[in-house]
């Protein structure tokens, strides 16, 4: 399975704070990403808003509770709910995170890192198969931000992701901010990370802000995309070419215009980085 590199353009996360504006007119962005679990309820305002938006622009469903790396079986209740919302919304892509977060039926509602071992790799690959079989479509997995590593890890995160996508056929949602945050927290080179990710597997980028907590960077999504992340985004464009981008903003969410402006900036940087190369190709 190759990752379909859809020409989605530049989008933003659909958040409750902006529902009224999304209902009032056409979304001012190329596409939106919706947090899957927030739209699994069969009724109420969220799903109505999403259906309205879906009629106007492409939607990507982005889950936070699949817990692909948990040793717990994936609950049937979750798979059925995921399948139902995928059927209802017909998203352009379906993604979740390379992490775990459920233990013996209890959810911690966090994206906990996995030890990068052969055991984890075999486990996650088989779970990706299970989900892709069930949905009848490709799943994309996002690299998490992390604050701690495991003594047992025998490979880097990028080696793990590259091998996982080769074995399972999953796509990669590359969160540029998470690469920056984890590189800082664990002391690896973010450029080396980018070089380790197979070009044809990246379905889209995440862009977001983080906060400096002194000893570490926290993936907080509470302000605009910082300069260091824009820099890494440029490097990613050089390596991966034209890839759709998505701006995430989850805390201290500003008015819609401000989030949209971030997404426009992503589009402008893409043009700046790729236009010279594309002109060369055309001539």
């Amino acid at each position: 399975m190759t990752t379909s590199r859809l020409d989605l353009g530049h989008g933003i996360g659909l958040r409750t704070r902006h529902f009224a504006q999304f209902m009032a007119g056409r979304p001012p962005v190329d596409w939106v990403e919706a947090v899957t679990e927030n739209f699994m309820a069969p009724g109420g305002r969220p799903i109505s808003v999403l259906e309205k938006v879906r009629a106007e622009v492409p939607v990507v469903l982005h889950g936070v509770s699949l817990a692909i790396g948990s040793v717990d079986p994936i609950p049937e209740r979750y798979l059925a709910a995921l399948q139902a919302v995928v059927k209802r919304i017909e998203p352009a892509l379906v993604s979740d995170h390379l992490c775990w977060g459920a233990h013996r039926g209890q959810y911690v509602h966090d994206l906990l890192p996995l030890p990068y071992t052969e055991e984890s790799l075999a486990h996650v690959a088989s779970r990706v198969h299970e989900v892709q079989e069930r949905l009848g479509r490709q799943l994309l997995l996002e690299n998490p931000s992390s604050y701690v590593a495991y003594r047992d890890s025998s490979m880097t995160e990028w080696e793990f992701l590259a091998e996982l996508t080769r074995r399972s056929g999953c796509g990669i949602l590359l969160d540029v901010n998470n690469v920056h945050v984890s590189a800082h927290n664990h002391g690896f080179d973010p450029q080396e990370y980018l070089r380790g990710i197979p070009v044809d597997r990246v379905g889209y980028f995440h862009l977001a802000g983080h906060s400096d907590k002194g000893k570490y960077l926290l993936d907080s999504h509470d302000h605009s995309v910082p300069a260091a992340v824009w820099e890494l985004y440029r490097a990613a464009l050089h390596r991966f070419g034209r890839v759709p981008s998505l701006v995430e903003w989850d805390e201290a969410i500003p008015p819609l215009d401000e989030v949209v402006a971030e997404s426009r900036r992503a589009a402008a940087i893409e043009t700046e980085v790729l236009a010279p190369a594309e002109r060369r190709l055309a001539s």
Binding site: H103, V108, D110, Y150
Partner: protein
């Protein structure tokens, strides 16, 4: 360590009230000299509770107003230690908070459990499946002789609560920022429902609540009306109640009782 052992340890670090021994943490997790593993896992442990407390805050805004941030956080922490999330939707984590408050009542405000039950019902109906209510003339031409063969299908976005205290006035004063009156004990019924995208609730007379609960479980119109026999004019009271249910959009079908039961079965199967 196996993946299962690793996850069991990490989970214990996040959820246990007692700190996990540093040697066990250091044996599994890697850190750096200036940022050791135990400090690194503590980042996750601190975020774990706050994330869930935040979710509870969103579901129980009036309870937060009454208790204030600090007391609410302490209550939430107690509750979460005993009632961790067992649902993929973090919004479901407050499902047992009202029951928890009943088991551990606030000595000054035993009605906080009732307030929590009301707020939980408001949260539930917000996300309930949509259903089209019947029109205002749904009862027109219905022969009273057929009442024993006719039932009602009620909206899936309607809940009837029978509480130990009047929670609606407490909710109202908190909503308006007024000091609440003393708790008023005694059975008290409330209907909670969604109209459009908005959630409403209103106090109900106890006999009307019984009639509604009966209707919800498939009673015939004759039985529903019989709930009002204690009134001075039972027929007029039943007529007024049914008229208001219709006007609020609580009725989604008027049907033979067996069709009502079939509709209920379908609804249960969908859960």
């Amino acid at each position: 360590m196996t993946l299962a052992e690793t996850q069991a340890l990490f989970h214990e670090i996040l959820t246990s009230a007692e700190p996990v021994a540093a040697e066990r943490i250091e044996a599994c997790f890697a850190g750096t000299p200036d940022h050791p593993a135990s400090e690194r896992v503590a980042i996750y442990a601190n975020m774990y509770l706050w994330r869930l407390v935040d979710a509870l805050r969103e579901t129980f805004p009036q309870l937060v107003r009454y208790l204030g941030d600090e007391r609410f956080a302490a209550l939430a922490e107690d509750y979460l230690r005993r009632n961790p999330s067992d649902h993929h939707d973090v919004g479901q984590v407050g499902r047992r908070l009202a029951a928890f408050l009943r088991e551990h009542p606030d000595p000054e405000r035993p009605d906080l459990a009732d307030l929590a039950e009301l707020e939980w019902a408001r949260h539930q109906v917000f996300f309930a499946p949509p259903a089209e209510p019947v029109g205002p003339d749904a009862f027109a031409g219905l022969d009273p002789a057929s009442f024993s063969r006719t039932g009602l299908v009620l909206s899936p976005a309607l809940r009837v609560l029978v509480l130990d205290h009047a929670a609606a006035p407490l909710w109202r004063s908190l909503e308006d920022g007024e000091p609440p009156d003393a708790p008023s004990p005694g059975a008290s019924a409330v209907a909670v429902w969604r109209g459009g995208f908005d959630v409403f609730h209103t106090p109900l007379a106890l006999d009307e609540a019984i009639a509604l609960e009966g209707a919800a479980s498939g009673d015939s119109l004759a039985t529903i009306c019989a709930a009002f026999t204690g009134r001075e004019d039972p027929a007029a009271a039943a007529h007024a109640a049914l008229g208001s249910w219709l006007a609020e959009g609580w009725i989604t079908a008027v049907a033979q009782p067996r069709d009502v039961l079939a509709a209920l079965d379908r609804r249960v199967a969908r859960r």
